[in-house]
């Protein structure tokens, strides 16, 4: 690294003697460094405090955890984990590989993990991903629902020696090791705790890239860490993440060859993308599903027979047409409640929804009538209008429903100005009809698509749907030590969701990206984050 940056200056110095010409201008784009679009992360860049994709991009570059999800298959593979042993799906003994360090030279030890997890689980640190540690014993003490925390560290974590630690969970959770690829579980260096502010100014991690400079709200300059000990060393010299005020501007900049990589092609540009980029465009499935959730706290929607109305609504939606015309195939009609990125082995089952997700206006009308009609004769679909072209698809969806039911006023959109307000109305249980529900997976497990969304009082069960049979099946699945058997249980639970049509699955979302002629080997991982370390720059 150091030698590399000095070389151009040496050349400059030599050239300056001869030509006496300025050398400053060319320095910026020297080497195989690519520039990529970025958005200002919503929260400070702490691993357990980052819950959106912009911060997630950075963490994916500067950190490596015990497990790493394969960018293609989404399979959880050992990264820093030497081995994770358990005999009862509750007590885990984790051995960390020897030879890993942080980019500041500090050794990665069992302590680096335990300290990081304790920090994330401690209520007084205000970490928004704290609930990821909820399965570890002692979480109820470090992070009680109300009142002051009664312990600073998780009693379920214990350092055995330099490279070994044990985890005791509060319940059986067989797929726990597979969740450890999530960013909240990465190790943290002492610098994070000793001088927190300085760390936030310039984060230090153990990933293939190291932060060179960070101008908040403007640019994050990452350079390849030459001494990175892992197998996935970066194939370029670095990445400049530039904050854009608008995705359209980033796209225009890409067209003007002023930017190398745009990982969120705006919906309005999708129809031009083929001619603009001449094939330098990728559109691959991501672990995101969009659904319509219902307010089960409203007695109109909780009454018996309403499952027929919900199924009727589902059958009134022409998913094919909407994904084709509005999303230009960056969405795929959903036929279950998980995501294709899980793969058949991971629990995705195409067609699990069956007839109920197939467009059939006749059947839709009949089902709605049998179920006693729409509450109040009309459904209002609530959504936030500030991002993600939601207005377009809600309008199209309502059109489809109105046509199917032969009633111009059967379905109307109910836009809410900002995402924050939308969320707070959901939290306050103010919904009176179906509302937009999107789910981006935290880790590629079927459990993550079901439990947080449909388990009684789970964190993202916005509609407050509750079903004893579903809960029991999920508990059983979590206790199952055999992965295949666990997945089968989860699928049975998913069938319960289907039979009650707890939420209407709409479509699976793809990740999209466009790139310049300089780049090759551009791909997106199942979290729709570009796999930066594999990109080659010519």
């Amino acid at each position: 690294m150091r030698g590399r940056t000095h070389a151009p200056w040496a050349v400059c110095a030599a050239a300056a003697v001869l030509v006496a010409a300025g050398c400053g201008g060319g320095g910026e784009s020297s080497g195989a460094v690519l520039s990529a679009s970025w958005g200002d992360p919503q929260n400070p860049l702490e691993p357990a405090n980052t819950n959106e994709v912009q911060g997630g991009k950075v963490l994916s570059m500067i950190f490596r955890g015990l497990k790493q999800y394969d960018p293609e298959t989404a399979e959880a593979k050992d990264m820093l984990a030497e081995k994770i042993e358990t005999s009862d799906s509750r007590n885990f003994r984790i051995t960390v590989k020897d030879g890993w360090t942080f980019s500041n030279g500090e050794k990665v030890t069992a302590r680096s993990f335990v300290d990081a997890w304790n920090y994330g689980a401690s209520a007084e640190n205000n970490q928004k991903n704290a609930y990821f540690f909820q399965y570890i014993e002692g979480y109820d003490k470090t992070h009680p629902d109300s009142g002051r925390q009664r312990a600073d560290t998780l009693s379920g974590l214990e350092v055995v020696d330099d490279l070994t630690f044990t985890v005791r969970l509060s319940q059986k959770f067989s797929s726990f090791p597979d969740t450890l690829g999530y960013a909240a579980f990465v190790p943290l260096p002492r610098a994070f705790f000793d001088d927190h502010d300085a760390w936030l100014e310039k984060p230090v991690g153990n990933g293939p890239y190291a932060v060179e400079s960070y101008t908040k709200g403007a640019q994050l300059t990452l350079r390849t860490w030459q001494d990175y000990p892992g197998p996935d060393k970066a194939r370029n010299d670095g990445v400049d993440l530039r904050v854009y005020t608008d995705t359209n501007t980033a796209y225009t900049d890409l067209l003007a060859r002023n930017l190398d990589l745009v990982d969120d092609v705006p919906a309005s540009q999708l129809k031009n993308v083929d001619t603009d980029l001449e094939g330098r465009y990728i559109n691959t499935p991501a672990g995101i599903i969009q659904t319509l959730a219902f307010p089960y706290y409203d007695k109109n929607w909780d009454r018996k027979g309403m499952e027929k109305v919900r199924k009727g609504l589902s059958r009134a939606i022409d998913r094919e047409q909407i994904t084709e015309t509005i999303f230009r195939r960056t969405r795929t009609p959903a036929t279950d409640w998980t995501s294709p990125v899980l793969g058949e082995e991971g629990g995705y089952r195409a067609g699990l929804c069956g007839d109920a997700c197939e467009y059939d206006p006749e059947a839709a009308k009949k089902l709605v009538e049998e179920g006693g009609g729409l509450p109040g004769g009309q459904v209002r679909i609530t959504y936030n209008a500030d991002t993600g072209s939601h207005r377009e698809w809600v309008d199209a969806l309502c059109n489809s429903v109105n046509n199917a039911l032969g009633d111009d006023k059967a379905c109307v959109g109910n836009p809410i100005g900002t995402f924050a307000d939308f969320r707070s109305q959901i939290t306050d249980r103010n919904m009176s009809g179906p509302f937009r529900a999107g789910w981006q997976m935290d880790y590629p497990l079927i459990q993550n698509f079901l439990q947080p969304l449909y388990y009684t009082d789970a964190s993202s069960n916005d509609g407050k749907w509750s079903n004893a049979r579903f809960d029991r099946l999920v508990d059983e699945a979590n206790a199952e030590t055999d992965t295949a058997a666990a997945i089968e249980k989860f699928q049975q639970a998913e069938e319960v969701v289907r039979d009650d049509m707890a939420a209407i699955p709409l479509w699976y979302q793809n990740g999209s990206a466009g790139y310049s002629e300089r780049l090759s080997d551009v791909s997106l991982n199942p979290f729709s984050i570009p796999v930066y370390d594999r990109i080659q720059v010519s």
């Binding site: 007084e124 928004k128 005020t245 608008d246 225009t252 500030d386 900002t418 307000d421 969320r423 707070s424």
Partner: protein, 307 residues
């Protein structure tokens, strides 16, 4: 003069308090900002409660407002949700927007007034009709259309400029965005100057100046222009505030990380501290600009006296 300024400064206090209170209430009415911080899921109640407490959101609105104003007077504008102090955001955003505004105002003054004088002196001639037509087009086309069109033509098709402004936002990068930002006001300045000049060319003092045998150039700059500029100065003065706060569209199109961008993001994230902080400063800018305009009257027109 001094007493007038003092009186005006005193008048600013209620305006300032009223404006900030309104903004504060409006942002608060939008609902609970903490709910938007946890993505598509409910924040766990303990973290949400702690965040609300840390940002002072658990107190009644009037108390929040008083605490906030108290802090503002000590120079503390609070903290944005991403952990950055709002003053830090201001320090990075205001210089950029001020540069952009200066570029825009310069365009307004130079091009607008020159065109106004030329057309005003040649009423009814082809130049006049031509410019009037152009201003009509500029006024009727929304800024984002002009902006996107220029960006696409100059940035992508012809590659004269870079379509986006770098984070440094140097002056030369701001020429096109400045022109776009100024375009509508520029058209108004042209029309205002034209009307004003056209009216005053028939005034007695101009005829006197011409009769005295003064050179035409002197008649125009010293006598005609000076008097005709009063409405124009008012317009440009109030425009400063509008340009600084209203650059949201232009700043988004050209990727300028200025006040408009921060305000937009603050509103999306319902970040009371950011929005109120920036708007407070904008209100101050507006008030001061207005005062300066009123004082300029006296310089331009000696008949106006302040007591």
């Amino acid at each position: 003069m001094g007493r007038y300024v003092v009186r005006r400064l005193l008048q600013m206090i209620p305006v300032f308090i009223g404006a900030t209170l309104l903004i504060f209430l409006m942002v608060n009415v939008m609902g609970d900002p903490v709910a938007g911080l946890c993505g598509d899921r409910e924040c766990d109640p303990a973290t949400a409660a702690r965040l609300r407490h840390d940002f002072g959101l658990d107190q009644p609105v009037w108390q929040q407002y008083l605490t906030y104003m108290g802090n503002v007077f000590t120079g503390d504008f609070g903290t944005a949700f991403n952990g950055q102090p709002v003053t830090e955001l201001m320090a990075s955003a205001f210089p950029v927007t001020i540069r952009l505004t200066v570029v825009a105002i310069l365009f307004e003054i130079v091009i607008g007034i020159v065109l106004g004088v030329v057309t005003g002196l040649r009423r009814g001639r082809p130049v006049d009709t031509g410019v009037l037509l152009v201003t009509l087009v500029v006024i009727s086309v929304p800024t984002f259309v002009t902006g996107l069109l220029l960006q696409l033509l100059l940035g992508v098709e012809w590659e004269w400029i870079k379509p986006s402004v770098s984070t440094g936002a140097r002056l030369d990068e701001l020429i096109v965005p400045g022109l776009v930002l100024a375009s509508v006001s520029l058209a108004y300045v042209t029309r205002l100057t034209r009307t004003s000049i056209a009216e005053n060319t028939r005034a007695d003092y101009v005829r006197t100046a011409v009769a005295k045998g003064l050179p035409r150039r002197r008649v125009i700059t010293r006598h005609l222009l000076r008097n005709s500029l009063i409405p124009v100065v008012t317009f440009i003065g109030t425009d400063i505030g509008a340009l600084m706060g209203g650059a949201i569209v232009t700043e988004r199109i050209f990727n300028i990380h200025g006040v408009g961008y921060q305000l937009y993001q603050g509103i999306l994230r319902q970040n009371t501290q950011t929005v109120v902080g920036f708007v407070t400063v904008l209100v101050l800018v507006f008030l001061v600009a207005n005062l300066l305009v009123d004082l300029l009257y006296a310089v331009l027109d000696p008949r106006i006296r302040y007591v």
